[in-house]
Structures are given as structure tokens and as C-alpha cells.
Symmetry: D2
Subunit: 357 residues, 4 copies
């Protein structure tokens, strides 16, 4: 690889519904705590589709998208302590300074100078190279045996399912857990909720194919909610008791409503979906029901733990990957991921063949 | 006192806006685990006013109201282990069997055969005598030095403030706590939140008199919200950070809205108010704010702890009592308590002079 | 079965090393909250062996031993609410009143009038019939499909492993857990620790057969400590970091020492073993190591959850049972269980054939 | 103050029992994340006395002692984000990188490259200037109204009392807390335990003067343990129940023993003392007592909260300061602090008059 070649391929946003794979200058170190990473694998997130549709108006024309990635450290600033060129690393979607009040509370997503920056406020990972601010806090060393495809699921989707779903919902052994929405977030919640051994996990979706996948991922019950009777059916499944934990993994009022309808007294509603409008909270019914409702932007605080689980073989992260592409095919990858109903896509892995070790 | 006399005075509900102090037969033991208690002091709760207005349609004509009380055990069933005639006791608003799944989780308010029964599903405490089911779980022994007026505040209002407010809100040292509503529930939340040493407690209400009382109860800041600028003012007070804990102690959409507007990322909204209709939950703003929102029907699980605090002199429960009456004046007590804006009433203590020790 | 026949077979303690299977009068109801249960299956606990050796001097001559059992309710007192004759039930080793301060804190083992009574302060379950005080709090209803052999493991051994081991040790996903002692308590800790998905579980014992069983129960590493190098080997396995949780499941100073030697800074030592003498706590080394050390007498507070796990097929309790006997063979069962090194016994199931449904 | 003058006064350790106030070169920036702070106030810790006695053999000849301080930022490296020359700051005793696994778990005292460095592995704060590594994580901005004397108590002693005592002991409202040792650590535990509103705080010491001070700091009971009857007396005070939390604040076997003798079932023993030898842990008595025992090296994770409490006027940190000196008198300060029984010293404040703002 020619280090003097200062350009790279990158997927660039040019306003709603306009993406292009272009040559861009390679990123350079800006701060002492930066690292430059050569990407070997990246992915596409549901949020990238929202950006593409124009739902995130703050994203400027020219932005390189993407916040998921695995790669090789190319260069580090003088303030980076733990990483060196040649290190194989996982990139976290969250940039965190490790110093501010929110970082000290482990709320990295609200870091005063960080948060979700990659592919949003700064150029992202759907490219050959990316600049990672506060590299010591945003990268994780990978052992040789870790597979790119498995590990790239730890950049965003698995911490999201874990933190916004399983951890916020306080899933515990013996629980009945319902997950509304069997897309990537819901499936990640399903995989990670099982780390706490619920007695039953009920997956709810409109799409039978996704429900079939959910079963293969360990759901003990599935409910197709297209007939409007999901709540009734879940209450029957639980003999009228309701569920201990309801995880909302869609982001629309109807799915939030379903969570309210099925949660047991003393139960948890963990909101993992991104909502565009208010929902009705039925306090006239729930004020006395001892409910705990949580919202969360993924902090990626669970990444080290998830990495241990993947390395020990106890979490099969790779099965979230349904399709594989090369970086040169990334527009096709967007098309596949963006038409999941037709393509049956879960997550995609996008490899940069030139960079494979 | 004539033990053979089998009638007693009791405050009886006869449908909306109709109460009467009448002669009723004294309650008798029905189950082995019952006790009969002679009341020395009772009180009136905001919920009693709701009943009076007709908001609780399940209350039948003829019901003796009231769920707060202090008294002397008159008689116990053969299954009562811990109490004997002559014992001075505090009566908990919550009846709990101590055996069902909810009781084992300490969710006594959802007890399969108990919950809020007194003055609701069975005759209550605004009378000379009351029958207490599962007496071992619903009564607390009182030492001679405990004052009726202080202790009767532990039947309902202080556990409500503690559990639905301070505990659900997870108040901790250094926090900024806002309490919306300076009525008895809000003031009880204020007194009990202070057990966890917040740095600041901001009380919000429409009524300047109540805010003045809140200051005397320890609020460090007060905000009159009648001009619609409370949110703005609280954000200014917190230098834009918002509050760590917002306690809703009113039960209407506007006050719940205020809580949402002022809660800091990572903060808690603890709902203590009783709501009659849905509220709008602003997930379009809060989905990524790492908020925890709780609802709770008071379980009175905190009563033993509160009793220790009152006995050790560290919680001045008595200052919630603004007016005192005899049982014969209970209709006047309802009038005073029901017109708090005019009377400046907080809680009332209603004594049965014949029963005083 | 002749209901008029008022005698039964029972295993009776007659002082150290003296047991006999004898005819005894059947137990009768004594309190309103009692139940009489006909046993279909019982078991033997390591504690019973201690009693047999004379280590529990409070046990009187004539006591029927045993605190584990599954059976059919024969009779209930008038104060029993949840059970009726004919109900199939699991018997908890712990008797709890559900009313005292300890019961309200879920510390049932320290119940003011209960605790470990069966086969200790009152006659136990190694018999055809047993009297269960506070039956509503000491019995659990069983569905028809529950197998005696699986469920009887929930009377004592699995709650012990769960509470004194996994829960006290706060096992969480990604942890490295070491369990010192692969006897029934250690294996129960192993099974229940896995409900929290540790990355690694290291089992330590002197006996290779038990270590082989531990592997088949899910241990990811095993260490035979007979050469005195266990600590060194575990530190090597963890690359010098030590373990997140060390569970002591033997009850002698050497095994407690090993836990201290291998616990990582910030880690947990959960003592599940019954100790007969003091141990040296190395505060000169551990004072600054941010260690949490716990002791616990099993409260059986986890029984309802474990029952859900067994019923949902997620906890294979039955595999703890290595040998099966009939009640008439109970002395042989004691011999087998008491010579585990030779017999390779884990837990034994002792069935009463006359009582099988 | 002459900025070109590159020497400073500093208290230098020259081996056991040998200290000197000397001229030393001023510290200079070494890493990008360093800051140089001009000290306005420092203090002496019990640990400094141990160093002086030769108990910490790793301290080299020539080391500037001290790990407590308040001052003005003189210079910052290019990697320091939050501080600038002229900022008034509190110095934490703990150096933390904010990036390693321990820092991410908030176990800053075990930071892979930090921990207790000041006055130990690097030169400390008993000087005119000090170099602070990872300044963003080891300094706290002070508002103009914060008093040096109050705030310097947050460098070490109050976080120690809070974290090793109150937090580790999980003090909660209504608890009975016993603190064994009324020296600075014990008094700091007393002040911070009160933030959680225990019902009773019992202080135990051999010295009546210290017990009198403890009373003035809020202890509700005091016990002089010199007659060997402290355990008996505390059991009597608690009507045989024992204490919910026992905080060990001395560091010798006898005081640890006392904690074991008085802790209630379900209670906590929080070890805050620094121990030089093993203690006997009475597992033969405590194995079934549901005890939680903790050890901890102060992480100073509670400093931001304590700072809020001091600033809001709810924690009177200053009252720990019994004696005041100028830096030129620091040997006299050591003498006073080292002979506390005679001098009645608690903590000393050592001011650098040339540096006062």
C-alpha cells in the first residue's frame, strides 16, 4: 500500500437521497489524541438510512458517512497512549474524552466534546481511512483471532441492543421479555437479553421472515402484530400477568403503545427506538403500576464486556451479518440494506479487500 | 369506655358530595389474621377528597372512609403473632398478606389479596374502630414516646413522598431535585428527599403560601409557575444543565410536561401524582437523553425506616400537620382540608378524645 | 394409602453416627398456618452429613432429618390461603413467617420465628410425611409436568449456589468466575452463575472426577489444586489480572485463602462454604484492593425464579442427581452420598414409591 | 513572585524520621497532559506519618511528600483541555488517565498508569509547586467563593471517609452506623455518612477528646473502648440487634474484631483503615450472617459530588481543620499532626502566604 498516495475512496453524502463513492483526501491527525485507522471492514446502520432520507438535517453536503468499523492503526498523535501503528482495532461509534462530567458518569454518548461524531459531525468510517479523536477512549485492541465480521457488530448495533434494551430493561433470570421490532436493534436486544437468562423472550414484528430469524436467534415465542391483536395474545401467553420487560425497538407510537399495554406491574419499558414525535403515555392507567421507563442513547460503555463475550465464544455476533460486500460495492450494499423487506437483510459487512491483513 | 357498647361513630360516604358522621356497628374479627384497632388519631388524604367528588366510582354507598390512623389494639384473631390487645400501633394504608408473589417482591400495594383496601374496598379509619386484615403486616408497634400527630403522617403521606418521590427518583447527595407541586405529597417528597442530602431542592407551585412553607421545610429555591416561565427559570438556576431528579406531585399534564422540560440528561422523573388522563411523552426529544421515568403506588415498604427516623428525631413528621380536630368535627376537618388554598391547610389530625391514652 | 394409619416411616437421628429408618407417628397440624405434606421425593444435604458426624450439637436424639422435598399437600390449617389438599408442592428448606423485619428484608433465613427449622429444630423431610409451618411462605405450587427429581434440587442446593454464590458474587456477563470446590454447592454455583453469562468459569477441586463433571456442567477451565499451585495457575490463566468473582464452596481455611490469592482488584469473594473456624483475612494485602466479601445463609428468596428457569427448560436441575433410591433404602443412600469420592455421587433422589402420583 | 526563579521550597523525605524543608528545582511539564500548579494550601495525611516512620519502603530519598492541595494553575501542556493558567483548582490525591479499564470502571485508584502517585511515586504537594499528570482528570475547577481550608479537605480525607466508609458501607436512612476510630478518617466517615441520614451514629475511640469532637460533628452516641467492653455496650445500645454498618477506621486487628462483634445479620463492615497485618475473620460465626465486607483504596470518584455539597453549604468540610501553619512552619505542622493525642490536632492547613490570591 502506497503511503504517499494521499487520496482514498469514501462514501460521501450529497444531500437527501444522494450518495457517491468518491476520491477524497485521506484524513490527517489534527489533535495529539487522534489516531488514523485504515478500515478493513465497515457496516451500514439504520441511522445512515435516516441520514440518506434527509431526516438528520445537520449533516452537511460532503460528509463521509458511517460510524462502524474495524481496521488497522495507521498513525497516532503524541497524546495516544495505548495504540500504535499496526494495531488491529475496533472503532466505537461514540467519541468520548474520558475527562468531562458525563464521561466520568459513563454517559459517553453525552460527552461534552464527543458523543456520536463519526459520520455525523466529522467524517466517518465508510471509507478507506478515518480519523478517530480521543483514540485511547474510542478504539479497542483486537486479538489476531477476532473476526472482522463479528467484531464490527460491536461498533454500534450490539452495544445499542445491550444498553438501550437489556441493561436499561434490567433483564434478569426468569423474566418474560417482550421485544417489539425484530430489525437489527431488536435482534441485538434479543441476543444480549439472553445473557441474563430470561425464562421467555417474545419477539413481536409485522414480518414473518424476521420472526423466523428471531426464533433462530433464541426467541421462545413470536407474535405477528399485523392483525392488531398482539397485546391480547401476549397477555394470554403470560396468563394475564404481562411481561417483566418490554423493549421498544422501532420508534413509532404504535409500538410504544404496545409496550404500555403488555408491561406487568413492577415491570420495565426500555425504549431503544429513535422517535420522531411524541407518544401518549397512559399515566391514567400506569401511575400506580410501579413501572420504570427508560430512554438511552447508546454509550458504548458495554463494548469491553461484549468483546469478552465474543472472544470467549459465548456471543455469536457474526450471525447478525446477512450480506457481504466490498467497499467498491457500497452503493449496492445501501440498496440491499435499505430494502430489507425484499432482501431479507439484517446487517451488512463491507470489506476493503486492499486492506485485509 | 363501654366495651359492651357495640356501636361507634364513623364518617360514612353516601355518594358524591355526601358524607355523614353516623353511628355504625363496630367492626368484628372476620379472619384469624385480623385485628380490631381503636383509633386515637386519623387524618384525611387527598384521595379522600377525590372519593368525595365521585372520582372513585367503585366506592359503595355506606363505606367508612379513611386509610390513615394510630390507635390501640382492641382485639386480635388467633393468627396474629406480633400484636396483643393494648398495644399502641400505627396503621399502614396498605394491606398485605406477606405471602403472594408481589409481597415477596416488596410490592405490597399490588398484593394479590390486599393493596389499598381501607376506606376503599373495606371500611376505613375515620371512625372509632377499624378492622385491619393481616394485622401482622399492616400494623407497626409504637413506643410510648411516639406522638400520634407525628406518627399518623407515616400511614400514607410520608411513605408516598419517600417511595414515589425520593426513592423512585434515586435522590443522592449533591443532586439538584425539583418538586412540582407543594401540596402534602410534594412536601412529603421534600422532607424525605432531604434524607439523601441533595445540594439543591427547588419547589415549584402556583401558590406563594405553599412555596413559603416549602422554604420552611428546607427547599433551597422556590419557583411560582403561574407565569408559565418555570422551565426557563429552572434551566437558568441550573446554568442550563437541568435537574437530576424531577418529582411530579400534582397529577396533571402541565406539571408532567414541566418535569420533561427540566430533567437533565441521565436524570430521573419520578411520578407521584395520580393522573386521570394520558400525558404526552416527548420521546422525540428524550429518546436519547438517558432518562429514567417511574410510576408507583405507595407500597409502604419504607414505613419501618421512616418510623426509625421519626423516633430518632431526625424527621420532623409533625410539621406536616397544620390543623387539629376532634372526630366529632370531622366534617369541618374535610371542609378545611378541602379548601386548602383558603385555609392554608397541609394535613389535618383528627383525634378521638375518648380514646386518648 | 391408608389415611387412618397414623404411623409413617422416617429417618431418625440418634446421636453421632447413629441413624435409623423407623416407624414414627405422622405429624399433625399444630398451628393455623401449618400444612402436612406427603413426600414423594426427598434428598440428602451435606449438612445432614455434618449432623450425622455430630457437628451440630443442637440436634436432639429422635429428630427426623432432612430439609429437601417434593410432595402432595395432605392437610392444611385454617390460616393457609394458597394451598389445598392434593396440591403438588416443592418444600423450601427455609421456614419464614413473612411478617417479621428480616422477612420484610427478604432475609428469610433469619426469620424471627423461622429460618432453617426442618430437620434441625423440628422434624424434617426424610420421612413419609412432614409438617410445614407457615405453609404459604414455605411451599411452592408445582405444575403437573414438573419432575420430582429436578424440582427437589430447588429445596436447598440450587438456591444455595444461586444466592451464596452467583448473586452474592454479583456475577455479570463477561466475568471470569472461579469456583473453589466442585461438590454439590460448587456445582450448583456453577449452574446458576451461568445464568449471568460469565466469559469464563474456572472450577477448582482436588478430585479429577468432579472436575470432569464440572466441565460437563459448563466450566470452561478446571484446575486440580492438589499440587498447591492453583493460585499460580489461575493467575496465569487470567494473564495476571485475577478473577472477577471467587466463590468459596468448601468451608476450610485453605480454600478461602485461595480465593483471596486470585481475586482481582474490584472483585468479589462470595463465601458459600460452612466454616468451623476462623480464617486469616489478608487485609495487609487487600485493604486497598476494592474487594467485596460476602457471607450468606441461603434465604431461598431465589426459589420462584429458579422454578421458572427449570419450568422453561433453561436450567437443567436434574443433572445434579447422580443416584436414585427408595425411602426404604435411605441408609444406603446416606452411605453413597457420604462416600462421594468412591461413589462419585453428586446429589441423591430418594423416592417414596407408595406416594408417587 | 519571580517567574524566572526556578527554585522552590519543598518538604523533602530523607529516609525514616528525616524530613527537611529545602530548595528544590521547580517541576516542569513532562507530558502533554501535565499541568504545573502553584500551591496555595496543602495538608498532611496520616499516610505521610507512615512514610515518615519508614512504613512505605518504596518512597525514595529526595521525594517531596504530600498529596493534598489547592492552588493556581501555572502552566499546562498542550493536551490539557479544561484548565488554563490562572485557574484556581483542587488537586485530587489520585492520578487517573481516564482511559484504562480501571478508569472506565471508576476505580481510579487502580489506574494502570496512575493511582496514588503524588508524594509517593512522584513529587507531591508539600511544596510551592507541583506537577500534576493527566491534569484534566486530577484537577477540579474552584469557584472564587470556595475557601482553601474547606476545599483542601476534598483532596483526600473526605473522599476517603465517603468512599471507604459511607458508600462502601451502603449507609441508608434509618441505619445504625458504628465508626471505630475517631481520627481524621473516622471523622470524615462520620461527616459523610450523615449525608445518608442514619438514625444513629455511634463513634468508638480510646480518646475522650476525640469522642467529644465526634459528638460535635454529629455522632449521636460515643463509646470509649479502653475498658474492652465496647462490643457489649454497643449490643446493649442496639437492644441486641447489632449495627447495620460498622466502619473500621483504624487499621489494627482489635478494631476490625470489634466490627465483627457488633455487625447485625445482613449488615456491612466497611474497612477504611490501612492494615499492616492479617486479621482473623470469624467465618465460624459469620458464614451464615449475610454480611458484606468491603475494602477500598480511595478512588476520589466522589470528589465532584463532595464539592457540590461544600459549595451548597451542606457539608462543613472546614471543621476538620484544627490547626493552621505557613509552609515555612511545615516541620512544626508535622510535629503537631504527629502528636495528635497531645495537640488535639485533626487536620492541619498549611498555607503558602506568597501564593495567596
Amino acid at each position: 500500500m502506497d503511503k504517499n498516495n494521499s487520496s482514498m475512496k469514501a462514501l460521501v453524502f450529497h444531500g437527501p437521497n444522494s450518495l457517491a463513492l468518491e476520491d477524497k483526501p485521506r484524513p490527517a491527525l489534527q489533535e495529539a489524541t487522534d489516531a488514523i485507522v485504515r478500515l478493513t471492514t465497515t457496516s451500514i446502520c439504520g441511522t445512515d438510512l435516516h441520514i440518506l432520507k434527509g431526516d438528520v438535517p445537520t449533516i452537511p453536503d460532503g460528509r463521509v458517512l458511517g460510524h462502524e468499523g474495524v481496521g488497522i492503526v495507521e498513525e497516532v498523535g503524541p497524546g495516544v497512549l495505548a495504540f500504535h501503528p499496526g494495531d488491529r482495532v475496533l472503532i466505537s461509534l461514540i467519541t468520548s474524552c474520558g475527562r468531562c462530567d458525563f464521561c466520568r458518569k459513563r454517559m459517553y454518548s453525552h460527552c461534552r466534546v464527543g458523543g456520536w461524531l463519526l459520520g455525523n459531525h466529522i467524517d466517518g468510517t465508510q471509507a478507506e481511512y478515518v480519523r478517530i479523536p480521543f483514540a485511547d477512549n474510542g478504539l479497542y485492541a483486537l486479538p489476531p483471532e477476532a473476526e472482522d465480521e463479528a467484531v464490527v457488530m460491536l461498533s454500534c448495533i450490539l452495544p445499542t441492543g445491550m444498553e438501550c434494551g437489556a441493561l436499561s430493561g434490567q433483564v434478569k433470570p426468569g423474566d418474560v421479555v417482550a421485544i417489539v421490532g425484530a430489525g437489527p436493534v431488536g435482534l441485538a436486544a434479543l441476543l444480549t437479553a439472553q445473557l441474563y437468562s430470561p425464562a421467555e423472550t417474545v419477539m413481536i414484528d409485522l414480518n414473518d421472515n424476521r420472526l423466523m430469524i428471531a426464533r433462530s436467534f433464541g426467541a421462545t415465542q413470536t407474535v405477528n402484530s399485523s392483525d392488531g391483536k398482539a397485546a391480547k395474545r401476549i397477555m394470554a401467553l403470560t396468563h394475564g400477568a404481562g411481561v417483566d420487560v418490554a423493549i421498544e425497538a422501532v420508534g413509532v407510537p404504535a409500538t410504544f403503545d404496545l409496550c404500555q399495554a403488555i408491561v406487568a406491574p413492577g415491570g420495565h419499558i426500555a425504549n431503544a427506538g429513535v422517535h420522531a414525535k411524541p407518544v401518549a403515555l397512559h399515566l391514567e392507567k400506569l401511575w400506580g403500576a410501579n413501572i420504570t421507563l427508560t430512554t438511552r442513547l447508546v454509550d458504548a460503555a458495554s463494548t469491553p464486556m461484549l468483546l469478552k463475550m465474543v472472544q470467549s465464544g459465548r456471543l455469536d455476533a457474526k450471525k447478525l451479518v446477512s450480506h457481504r460486500f466490498e467497499l467498491s460495492e457500497i452503493l449496492k450494499a445501501y440498496d440491499t440494506f435499505g430494502n430489507a423487506e425484499r432482501s431479507h437483510a439484517l446487517k451488512v459487512a463491507i470489506k476493503n479487500p486492499a486492506q485485509q491483513p
